[in-house]
Symmetry: C2
DNA sequence: CCTGTTCATTCTGCATGCAACGCTACATGC
DNA sequence: GCATGTAGCGTTGCATGCAGAATGAACAGG
């Protein structure tokens, strides 16, 4: 007996054990996934210090998977080493966010190009369906729904570009942005309509198989995010 | 007496003064660095299978740092998990290379933009000095020197953009490309002059603080790389 | 001769022991 | 009162033991 108590599923995991058939999925990955969720949901605020033994205790695993889970998150950029000891959830201000937005801009522009070149009629149809939903949500003033559908939009484009590596990198950057932006998420003065206009232009460019236009509109879309960020920082 | 033989410090160990800041450098990092060098130098060819115990034996460390070193390289994209067991040095053909070139294009375009916006006169001077050297080397037909100076050129631009994160991502992508392209490195039909023309245009755009032009020329430069790749693949 | 089974080797992943180090708090000396 | 020493706790990083799984080879049966 190596594991006294299966406390790993102490949280929302409704199944008492891992499925009998399903691969138990490496503990390291479970730990990483747990922490990732906690960080992205805000349960672990930016700057929170994380220690290996502590995580091991709380999740009921030994220190090895706890340690390696943290290493994984560090490679993903969600935690960063802290001076002299341990790691902490990434924290940063406008400069860090702007750096990340640069990366996002470069990558997302490429996904838009490739999507315009490679996405078929079915992909465009999915985009339009999503857009229709999105319009309704924005009209309702539903901020949470808006954020979710916005993410879904970008995901469709990422996947439509057919470059899995690129998509993965972009996901990582987006996650980091979400963490650093957590305070901003209650976005004052958000304009869902402006976002919708951008999305519409991007969809049309993709439908027309026009990579240059897709890139142009995607860039404008992200620049608007940047401007919003700068403006919010200036106010705060 | 945990480590019988310190075979790992066959390199240069600054074992004299590991003060409060200079750690003796973790074994995990040493392992990762060793393997990284071996992969980039071609000593470990693409597709080579790597097992944790084997690496531990060869480097004279225990399995833990060997394992974690491999995990680090996996996160860097230099090795990839192999079906059912272990990891292997990344290997791939034209599709994988094109995917990476997409990422590189997106990122490098942003570095060119930012360099054009932020690089000072001294930075431009360094670029021009490097360019002069590069011209000589190309004139001599020195392929190795050309490759090195080409890398140096892109590095200057990366660093001139002032976005460390972006630079780091780009380095990773470049490393992966170098590995996958290793066969191609004896580039038949390489045209150093075409590269120089591109570089010159990029430098001029940066000197003129013209981000759009810098981006345009950088993109053209990378597209040429892509075309070269496709052509080589077509021939092989 | 080919196919299917079993066994041995080797691997991965997790748990755990251990030494060295940093930080904190408290006690001691000037 | 202030600086210095020091003991304790928590932490990191490495080594190592062990169980389960996968691979490959020897071998029996059709």
């Amino acid at each position: 007996m190596q594991n006294e108590q299966g406390q790993v599923d102490a949280g929302q995991e409704t199944s008492g054990h891992f499925g009998p058939l399903a691969r138990p999925e490496a503990l390291t990955d479970q730990v990483a996934e747990r922490l990732r969720s906690a960080i992205l949901s805000g349960a672990l605020a930016p700057g929170t210090h994380l220690s290996v033994p502590e995580i091991a205790r709380q999740l009921g695993v030994s220190r090895t998977p706890a340690r390696e889970g943290l290493i994984a998150l560090e490679r993903e950029g969600l935690v960063e080493p802290r001076a002299s000891t341990g790691v902490a959830v990434i924290a940063g201000g406008t400069p860090e966010i702007l750096d990340l937005l640069d990366i996002r801009e470069g990558l997302e522009i490429m996904t838009a190009r490739r999507a315009a070149e490679r996405m078929g009629a079915d992909g465009v149809a999915r985009l339009r369906a999503l857009f229709a939903q999105h319009e309704v949500v924005v009209e309702r003033g539903d901020l949470a729904g808006h954020v979710e559908l916005d993410a879904a939009f970008h995901r469709l484009i990422r996947d439509g570009g057919g470059n899995a590596r690129l998509a993965r990198q972009l996901v990582q950057i987006d996650q980091q942005l979400r963490v650093l932006n957590s305070r901003l998420s209650r976005a004052q003065g958000w304009s869902g309509r402006a976002v919708l206009r951008d999305h519409k232009a991007i969809i049309d460019a993709i439908a027309a198989s026009d990579p240059d236009a897709a890139e142009r509109h995607m860039r404008a879309h992200i620049e608007r995010t940047r401007a919003f960020q700068l403006q919010s920082a200036g106010k705060g």
